[in-house]
């Protein structure tokens, strides 16, 4: 589904502090599978994730999404594709303080100009499915860590994406919440979604529902065990 061919990402090109985060990476990610990217810090995991998720463009190489080449698309179109296809879950919930849970969840859909009542309904449904419907009008500062994480997940799902991307999702969660998170991942898989996770938490990459683990080191992929 997602294909990377000879992808390279260089930062600060031409300057003395030029540094290349990814070097000649070729990768193929299959549909409806859970893929985990792992490796030591500085190996380029986050960079790779951001390229896979249409958040940034490679310095060289090609990226294809469902056969369509997206590496040279202007930002406007890239964002449109990203909005429709991907849902992001970050390390931190990254919610906007001062807004309520409901407002935060609806945020990604604002640029689409959907009718407010429909959008609200969608949002409430999502919140209920993760058991935080009761907190819809609470300000996000007052949520617990787990509730915040779940709000972030609902937000990622608001536009009904087919691919879920999560960056170190269990980094700030305790064991119980981490297991809960993996249960949600299983649910995604059952719904036919594709999941890509970066993690160096064994709880994640040794989990039974993971279909493939990709190891990154110094910007290159190391072997392909599962």
């Amino acid at each position: 589904m997602i294909e990377l061919a000879n992808v390279r990402k260089v930062f600060n090109a031409g300057n003395p502090n030029e540094f290349s985060a990814l070097n000649d990476v070729s990768l193929s990610i299959s549909e409806n599978r859970v893929t985990v990217l792992t490796g030591p810090s500085g190996s380029g995991k986050t960079t790779l994730l951001s390229i896979v998720g249409c958040m940034s463009r490679p310095s060289a190489g090609r990226v294809r999404l469902s056969g369509r080449e997206i590496s040279s698309l202007p930002e406007r179109f890239l964002t449109e594709i990203r909005r429709k296809t991907f849902g992001f879950i970050f390390q931190q919930p990254n919610l906007i303080k001062g807004l309520t849970v409901l407002e935060n969840v609806m945020l990604p859909a604002y640029p689409l100009g959907e009718k407010r009542s429909l959008l609200k309904e969608k949002a409430m449904k999502g919140l209920h499915s993760l058991n935080i419907g009761a907190k819809a009008s609470a300000k996000v500062e007052w949520l617990s860590g787990g509730e915040a994480q779940r709000t972030a997940i609902v937000r990622a799902l608001i536009n009904n994406p087919t691919i879920i991307i999560a960056d170190e999702p269990t980094a700030h969660l305790d064991t119980k919440l981490s297991y809960r998170f993996m249960e949600i991942v299983e649910r995604f898989k059952d719904e036919g979604k594709t999941v890509i996770i970066t993690s160096h938490d064994p709880l994640v990459y040794e989990s039974s529902m993971v279909d493939r683990v990709v190891i990154l080191r110094d910007g290159k992929i190391e072997g392909k065990p599962s």
Binding site: S59, A60, L73, P74, E75
Partner: protein, 331 residues
Amino acid sequence: MILHPTVIANLLGSSVATGMVVYAAYHGAQILKHWNLQSGAELQLVLERKTYLISTLLSYVFGLQLLSLFLFVFTADSLTPLFVGAMCAAGTLNVNGFGYPTLVLKIVNFLLAGLWLVLNHADNLGYDYPLIKKKYLLLVIIAPFIVLETVLEGAYFFGMHADVITSCCGSLFSSEKSGDLGSDLASLPSIPMMWAFYATMALTLLVGGYCYLKGKAGYAYPVLSGLAFLVALASVISFISLYIYELPTHHCPFCIIMQDYSYIGYLLYLLLFGAVVFGMGVGALLPFRELESLRGLLPALIGRLTFVSVFLYFIFTSIVTYEIVFSNLIM
């Protein structure tokens, strides 16, 4: 120079618009030189970000041009008392040789900015920025016009000297200045002009309507809409103003935007300007119909532009007809 607050505002507005366009053109030139969509290098990303800046700047310039166009006429009107023989804005603009050229350039620059925005909008629809080079080339061409406009405007305002008493010992001097500042505008004969106006409008509306409904697009409509614009302006001077003022001799196209006539001129001019920008915008897009990334989307855009242009011309004609029918003037 006449240090009137409104004059200051005019000069400020023009200078700001010029500054923005020159700045935008400078960045545009960079894009022209280095643009390469296939490259993922940082320079390309920086250039892509710059396009947003330029679009934003040009949108503001477009709005500012419209505002400063109307303010220019207001200023000319309010400075009328200072000049012997000037009856209204038309006279003030004649005070030196720069008045009318500045006005004409302001209108032209407004239209150019509008056309650029239409091109920009179309460019954004294509997934590979198909019109990018042409767009910025156009911008680089527009820039000197805006600079020229500000220079002319400066020459106009700095070159005007009020006919005032300069010394308590000085005596009558206004007799040396004989009357008229040519406030009477050259106008074409009214009745033939009326026929010409209605004929042009009818043709324009019909061709436009046909193009829109049949989904055809050709140069006929853009050319006609440009022609209709000029004919309409000439008509305002020639006969439309007469009916609004209810005076067979008052041909001034500027007084109709004043309070005394319920600001009707605003509406008429806004409709006209809108109609011609959209109409000629169609013409600007026609050469690019066959580009791959735009092929599917351009016809719809052209259709929308045609529709809006026709609609605005229609409303303009209706209001003009209303004014003529309900005016107290019988010709």
